[in-house]
Structures are given as structure tokens and as C-alpha cells.
């Protein structure tokens, strides 16, 4: 039963952003087709189109030679296209059989009554055919993650899937689990199933895929047989932009060490990370989503608890057990999600900006100096070019860029020693982006230490004096000067060689 699915000229826009531009991809029975690209390259959009979750603006889809429109996810399943998502959505206390046949249980004479005998029987047959060795009566929560994944796969096959789309299937598996899965994928391929394999792990792609499609910024930048290419080539195609490291200012005086962290560890997220930050320096932290960058910073700042680690500020040990401690020591964070973490939507600009410095504005009896508060807020609004009717305007009404400026303004009131920005220009227009970059560089040039976490490589390149690359909770590389390039960052974010020996390595 040969199947082939071809997507041609697929284009998809979200508002002003082009997520996919004239992308072609074809999937055949018995072929494992790898799909790679950076965050934002368009992989998930393409996957969603294949699985019927969204529809392309332009383009054709052909199934077995016949043109087809995939109306919705259920229709895709009927057509034999199944998604194995990254987040396994299983109900913990159901049994394997119940999970697999959830929604399509075999029923008895009285409609609505599940035929449990048949349920388990059917399940056993399915699992045998798929060569999956799991007891149909076992409860999902008692299974290992690998086994749970197999249950999700079995469920796909219970609906007669011919095309399987696996999205980052190994993201939560340990080495043995990965091995087992990859072996299983090969077995499925030999049974004639068509598989699309989306992953950041280039080594897995090379192990199990027959062909590879590479996306970059919504474009198709490469399609080749695995046997005819290598890792370098793939990474180059993933990243290949030519970006001059156009920094708006040169390396200013970088002073002595202002912050030093040793051996920061937080279960699962960060393992034994150490680094230094100098006055006047902008340290970029790059890495894939999930590499642990935000978690590392939150552990350092005491927002989340850490298991190990020491922090030194200007050479002296600092006791940071809560975010308030961190602020007192002069470390501040502009968080990743501006609405969820950075702003109080029910309040105005002024009230948001003044929140961290209310102590300074308090007079006798806890009374707030409203005049001073307004003055400070207006001053900051001018300095940052925040466009609003007045400082009383509700932040809810501001554009994304202006909202982000309000979040920044909050912390500019405090003469912090270290400013940490987590994804400072995510989802913001180009003009505001460069304004914010200027502000960040300004802070560094005035002698503060600055850390910028970003998933946008051009941003990292434009701002950083040095770049920390993280990968799965460890420090993969520290890049300096000429070593800082998109290719190097990407490589270390995805593969890297060994972890940096964080105990012995000397900081430049």
C-alpha cells in the first residue's frame, strides 16, 4: 500500500509575517523524511498544515496523486495522517487499551457500554502487530516516557495511519529511550509507513532519516539525501544568513568582573554552570528553546530555588535566596513574557513604572509622593520615547513595543549593577527593536554589566561582546570576538562537543 503525500508551493502568512514561502515537500512510504530548521524557520507551521490544523494560503496538497484539501485535524486522521506531538496528551489513570481507543471504543449491544473484553483483545492484536511489548491493561502513569510514546504511536495506528509526523520525539527521552525509539522508527519504515521526523538533534536525523528538508525563515533552503550530505552542510543551510556583526558601537571599556557565578545547578534545567560578567560588557546567552537559559537566570536571581551555586558580586559573596535579595544586590531582570510577567495590565504606565521604587517614594504614614512619581514616570516616558496620552494611560492600551519599553523603564529607575534581559525584543517591530538595543548598549557603556538572553541570532550578534551557548542545561561554549558567528552558535547549541569544563576553564 504505497502512499505519497506531496505539498507544493505552500505559502502561509500570519498577519504581516510570512511563515512559509513557496515550500515544497514530498513524503513517501518507506521513507523517513527529516525536517530541520531553527526556531521560527517554519517547521511547526508546515507540520500543522500537513496535519490539518491550519490551511495554507497558497499551495496544493496531493495525496496519492489526487489533489486534496485537508479540512481539519480529524479529516487528516481519516486520510491516514497522524501527528505524534511533542507534548504527549495521555490521561494518566487510563489503561493502555483505553488510551489507544479513547473515543472509538468497541461497544456492546446497549450503545454506550464499552465491550471491555473486545477492547483489550483488539489492543493486544494491535500491539503485537506493531511489535510493541506493553501490557494493554497497564495504566499509563505506570509506564516510562518511552512506553507512553509508543502508546501514542499505537493510537495513531489504531486509526490506520499511513503517514506519521513525529515532532521532536526524543525531547524527553534518555539515551536508551532514544535508541529504542530510533530502532522502532526504522522498523516502521520497513513496514512501509511514511515518516516525517522533526528534530533539532542532527545526530538523530543522520541516524534514521533517508532524506532531509531544511527550512530557513520560511524558505526551503535545502533538500538532499542523507548519504550525500554532512552535519556542517546542514547547519550552514539552517543558518546561512549573511549578517555583518554590525554593532552600533565598538567595544567600550570593559572593566573588571562585576558578577561571577560558580556551579549553578538546578535539577533538570541547569547543571554546574559557571561564568563571569564584566562591567560594561554585554554577555549574550544563546541556545535552543528549552536549553535552560531562562531557568539558569531565574536560579541565579533567586526567583526559583537552586540546588547549588555561589554568586559573587564585585568579588564579594552574595546571599541571594529570593528575587528581592537579588534586587537589593543590584541584579535586575526584564522578564521574557512582558504581559504575563512584566506588566500589571489593570494599572497605568506610571504605576507600573514606579512599582519597584515605591519605597523611595514613600513619605510619612506610608503616603506616596504622587507628584514625584509622576515626574519620574514622565521623565522615563520621554527618555524611552514611550508613546501614550499620559502617564496615567492603562498599559493594556499600548502597542507591544511600547509595553516592552514600560517594562524596561521600570528597572531603569534603579541603578542596577547587572541588567538581565530575557528575549527583550520578541515580537516587536524593527524600529522599536533598534531603540531597545540602543538602550541596552547605553546601560553597558555607563558601566553596568548586561546579560541578554535571545533566540534571535542577529540580535545576539549585534549586541554581544561574548556569547554563552547553552545546550540542554549545560554550558556548551563560550564564544569571544571573531569566534562569534551564527554558525558557531548554532553548532554549539545543537551538537557541541563536550561540555565546557566549568571548573578548570579560565575566563578571558
Amino acid at each position: 500500500m504505497q502512499t505519497s503525500l506531496a505539498l507544493t508551493n505552500i505559502t502561509k502568512r500570519f498577519g504581516g509575517v510570512v511563515a512559509l514561502n513557496q515550500v515544497n515537500i514530498s513524503i513517501e512510504s518507506g521513507v523517513v523524511h527529516g525536517l530541520v530548521g531553527e526556531n521560527g524557520a517554519g517547521k511547526s507551521t508546515l507540520a500543522k498544515i500537513i496535519c490539518g490544523i491550519i490551511k495554507p494560503d497558497i499551495g496544493e496538497i496531493t495525496l496519492n496523486g489526487k489533489p486534496v484539501i485537508i479540512h481539519n485535524a480529524n479529516h487528516a486522521i481519516e486520510l491516514g495522517i497522524a501527528l505524534i506531538p511533542q507534548e504527549l496528551e495521555l490521561v494518566p489513570f487510563l489503561s493502555v487499551a483505553e488510551s489507544i481507543y479513547l473515543g472509538s471504543e468497541p461497544t456492546r449491544l446497549i450503545p454506550g457500554m464499552v465491550d471491555r473484553k473486545q477492547l483489550f483483545q483488539k489492543c493486544k492484536e494491535l500491539l503485537d502487530e506493531l511489535e510493541i511489548d506493553i501490557n494493554p491493561t497497564a495504566k499509563v502513569m505506570d509506564l516510562s516516557i518511552s512506553q507512553q510514546q509508543l502508546v501514542v504511536i499505537a493510537r495513531a495506528f489504531s486509526k490506520n495511519a499511513k503517514i506519521l509526523l513525529m515532532d521532536e520525539p526524543t525531547s524527553r527521552l534518555g539515551p536508551e529511550g532514544i535508541d529504542a525509539l530510533l530502532n522502532y522508527v526504522v522498523r516502521l519504515k520497513n513496514k512501509g509507513i511514511a515518516i516525517i521526523y522533526i528534530s533539532h538533534h542532527i545526530d538523530e536525523i543522520f541516524r534514521v532519516c533517508d532524506v532531509i528538508t531544511i527550512l530557513r525563515d520560511g524558505q526551503l533552503t535545502g533538500f538532499c539525501k542523507t548519504s550525500e550530505t554532512n552535519t556542517d552542510d546542514i547547519v550552514q543551510r539552517m543558518v546561512g544568513r549573511h549578517v555583518e556583526r554590525g554593532k552600533l558601537q565598538d567595544n567600550t571599556d570593559i572593566g573588571d568582573v562585576i558578577l561571577q557565578v560558580k556551579n549553578i545547578a538546578r535539577k533538570r534545567y541547569a547543571q554546574g554552570i559557571s561564568f563571569e560578567l564584566h562591567r560594561g560588557e554585554i554577555l549574550g546567552i544563546a541556545g535552543l528553546i528549552g536549553a535552560g537559559r531562562t531557568e539558569l537566570i531565574r536560579a541565579i536571581l533567586g526567583i526559583d530555588s537552586r540546588e547549588e551555586g555561589q554568586i559573587f558580586i564585585e568579588g564579594k559573596p552574595a546571599k541571594i535566596n529570593s528575587y528581592k535579595d537579588a534586587i537589593k544586590c543590584g541584579l535586575v531582570l526584564v522578564p521574557e513574557e512582558r504581559i504575563k510577567q512584566g506588566l500589571i495590565l489593570s494599572m497605568g504606565i506610571r504605576e507600573n513604572i514606579s512599582l519597584p521604587i515605591l519605597k523611595r517614594l514613600t513619605r510619612w504614614f506610608g503616603y506616596l509622593d504622587a507628584f514625584q512619581e509622576r515626574k519620574i514616570a514622565n521623565g522615563l516616558m520621554d527618555r524611552l520615547h514611550i508613546k501614550a496620552s499620559s502617564s496615567d494611560a492603562p498599559v493594556r492600551s499600548l502597542s507591544g513595543g511600547n509595553q516592552q519599553k514600560v517594562v524596561l523603564a521600570k528597572w531603569l529607575n534603579i541603578n542596577a549593577k547587572v541588567y538581565i534581559f530575557d528575549e527583550p525584543t520578541r515580537g516587536i517591530d524593527v524600529l522599536t527593536k533598534s531603540e531597545i538595543h540602543k538602550i541596552i548598549q547605553d546601560l553597558a557603556s555607563k558601566g553596568a554589566g548586561v546579560i541578554v538572553i535571545s533566540s534571535e541570532l542577529p540580535e545576539i550578534l549585534a549586541l554581544s561582546n561574548r556569547v554563552l551557548v547553552m545546550r540542554e542545561g549545560i554550558l556548551s561554549a563560550i564564544l569571544v570576538g571573531g569566534d562569534i558567528s551564527e554558525k558557531n552558535i548554532m553548532q554549539n547549541a545543537i551538537i557541541g562537543e563536550n561540555r565546557i569544563d566549568t571548573i578548570n576553564r579560565q575566563e578571558v
Binding site: 494599572m347 512599582l355 519605597k359
Partner: protein, 327 residues
């Protein structure tokens, strides 16, 4: 491609969305005005000063308690112990009065009692991490138990006449209870609107995660808000006992639901579905005026209850729709 698809609102669309936003902000107030107009037209006695004073006197107790509860509810939490606390604190006030023969000491004792109850509530919820619903409910039972054990169900009476001033006295024709209410309102308005504490309370209620990431200490502020609520219950118990002339062990028990309803009602007014002080005041006025007006129209009690229930359902529905719309 029409202008509409690009997102340009036509003139009439702009006008109707402005109307709906006015309705959203001042709908409850408009409802109140309409209600007053209705009662004014249907009952001769309604629009008299004496009736107005009666209304204010009757709602004073509810107003004080609701003001205290509002502070807690702005932070997004609740206090289910207030009804029992009012009863118990009323008994405490009466007993303190009988023992010390000093009104001043009685007032001090009851306020301290309120602080204590509030502090225990606040501590278990913010520092021990017990969910507010369970923690305050349990506290309520505890307080009621102690109260019942102490009084064996008997009211505490034979209170000295001079004590009645709080609940029954008048000054320049206006009931003292109204003055007390105004005082509490003023203090709370100042705390919420003009102090650092008030700002923190609104921040915690608006977005707790963002508040923490702006350097706000959540726990101490929650503790203080519960203490203030406890003090509110204390003053309520004092005025209530003074009004009745004796401390009945169950006097305040039924106030919990009315008070919560009032604050919810108030949340629909002025602030997009979030608890706020003026809204609570409006809520109290609505409930009080509604009861008074319906009574003047000889509407039977059970019907008044139904009306109250209906109003509250409508209020809470509007609140949750507004909340969702505001994101």
C-alpha cells in the same frame, strides 16, 4: 478589499463600541440610579431624608464588613470567616464591657481580637500556603466553636446604656453608625489609593507573578490585608452589638454571603470586573436601597430574597464576562 477588512471601524461602529464601553464602566451605577428613580416614583415615602438616613443606618454594618473584605478580595483572595468573626467579636466586645466597665477597653479588646483573627488567617494563607478558601473557612468554624463554647448559646445582655451610642446614637441627626462607616471608608480609601501598601495590594491582585518580578513581597502584604479584614469584622461586631443592645452568638453568621455578594456586585462597577472600594460602596447602596424600596412597596420578604439572588447572579455573570474580555 473593503476598508472594513483592514480593520478600519466605520463611524457607526465606533459609536456603538463607545456606548458599550460606557455601559461597561458605568452600567452598575446607571442601574442604581434607575432603581432609585423607580422607587421614588412608586413610593411616596422613598425620597425623604428620614428614609435616606434609615437606609444608611441599616447598611452601615454591611458597609463596614464589606470594606474590610474588599481589601482581601482585591488581592484575589477571600475570607470566609467574617460572618462567624463578627458574631464572636460582638460577644467579645460585650464581655469585655461587662468585665472592665470601660467602653474604651472594650473597643480596644475587640479590635485586638479582630487583628488576631486576621493575623492567623493571613499567616496560614500566605506563609503556610494553605488555600484561602479552606484556611478561612476552617478559621470561621474554629471561631464559631470558641464562641459557642463560651456563650453556650446565650446572648450577652445587660450592657450599659452608654454603649448603645455606636449603633443607636445620633449626631446632628445622622446616626453615629454612618459616621463610623464613613470613617472606615475614608481610612480604607487612603490606604488603598494613597499608600505603598495599597499599590502593592492592587499589584498582587492584578498580576501576582509580575508583582513578584517587580520586587513586591507578596506574603507580608497578604497578611496585612487579612488583618485589616479582621479589624473590619471587629468594628462590625461592635456596631452590631451596640445596635441590638446585646451580643447574640449568631448575630453575624448570616452576613458572609451578603458581604461577598456586595463586593462582587461592586466589582462590576468602575473597574472591569475587579474588586474595588467605590464599587463595594455602590454594591452596599444597591442592596440596601433595594431592600428598603421593596419593603416600602410591601413586597414580601421571600420575594426580596429572590430579587437579591437574581441581582447577584447578573452581577457575577457580568463580572466574569468583563474579566475575560479584559484578558
Amino acid at each position: 478589499m473593503s476598508l472594513k477588512s483592514v480593520g478600519f471601524k466605520s463611524f457607526s461602529e465606533k459609536r456603538s463600541s463607545r456606548i458599550s464601553s460606557i455601559l461597561r464602566r458605568y452600567g452598575t451605577l446607571m442601574f442604581f440610579i434607575l432603581m432609585i428613580a423607580f422607587f421614588g416614583l412608586t413610593s411616596r415615602y422613598f425620597f425623604t431624608i428620614s428614609n435616606a438616613l434609615t437606609i444608611l443606618d441599616q447598611i452601615a454594618v454591611l458597609a463596614i464588613l464589606a470594606t474590610g473584605l474588599t481589601v482581601v478580595m482585591i488581592t484575589g483572595r477571600i475570607d470566609l470567616s467574617i460572618g462567624y468573626a463578627v458574631s464572636a467579636l460582638g460577644v467579645l466586645a460585650a464581655n469585655a464591657l461587662l468585665i472592665t466597665h470601660s467602653i474604651t477597653l472594650a473597643v480596644l479588646t475587640v479590635i485586638l481580637g479582630g487583628i488576631l483573627i486576621g493575623a492567623v488567617n493571613g499567616f496560614t494563607i500566605s506563609f503556610l500556603g494553605i488555600p484561602d478558601f479552606i484556611g478561612t473557612l476552617a478559621m470561621g468554624f474554629l471561631v464559631e466553636g470558641v464562641n459557642q463554647a463560651f456563650t453556650r448559646g446565650y446572648p450577652v445582655s445587660n450592657l450599659p446604656q452608654r454603649f448603645y451610642i455606636f449603633g443607636q446614637g445620633k449626631f446632628i441627626g445622622i446616626p453615629i453608625s454612618v459616621f463610623i462607616t464613613l470613617g472606615i471608608l475614608l481610612i480604607t480609601w487612603f490606604l488603598l489609593g494613597r499608600t505603598r501598601f495599597g499599590r502593592y495590594v492592587y499589584a498582587i491582585g492584578g498580576n501576582e507573578e509580575a508583582a513578584v518580578l517587580s520586587g513586591v513581597s507578596v506574603r507580608p502584604n497578604i497578611l496585612i490585608s487579612y488583618i485589616l479584614c479582621g479589624v473590619g469584622a471587629a468594628v462590625t461586631g461592635l456596631v452590631l452589638t451596640s445596635r441590638i443592645g446585646a451580643a447574640y452568638p449568631t448575630a453575624g453568621d448570616g452576613m458572609l454571603l451578603d458581604t461577598i455578594a456586595t463586593v462582587f456586585l461592586g466589582a462590576t462597577a468602575f473597574r472591569n470586573g475587579e474588586a474595588n472600594l467605590w464599587g463595594t460602596l455602590l454594591g452596599v447602596l444597591i442592596i440596601g436601597t433595594m431592600t428598603n424600596g421593596l419593603t416600602l412597596l410591601d413586597v414580601p420578604y421571600y420575594f426580596q430574597l429572590m430579587a437579591k439572588g437574581l441581582i447577584i447572579v447578573v452581577a457575577v455573570t457580568i463580572t466574569s464576562i468583563e474579566r475575560r474580555r479584559a484578558g
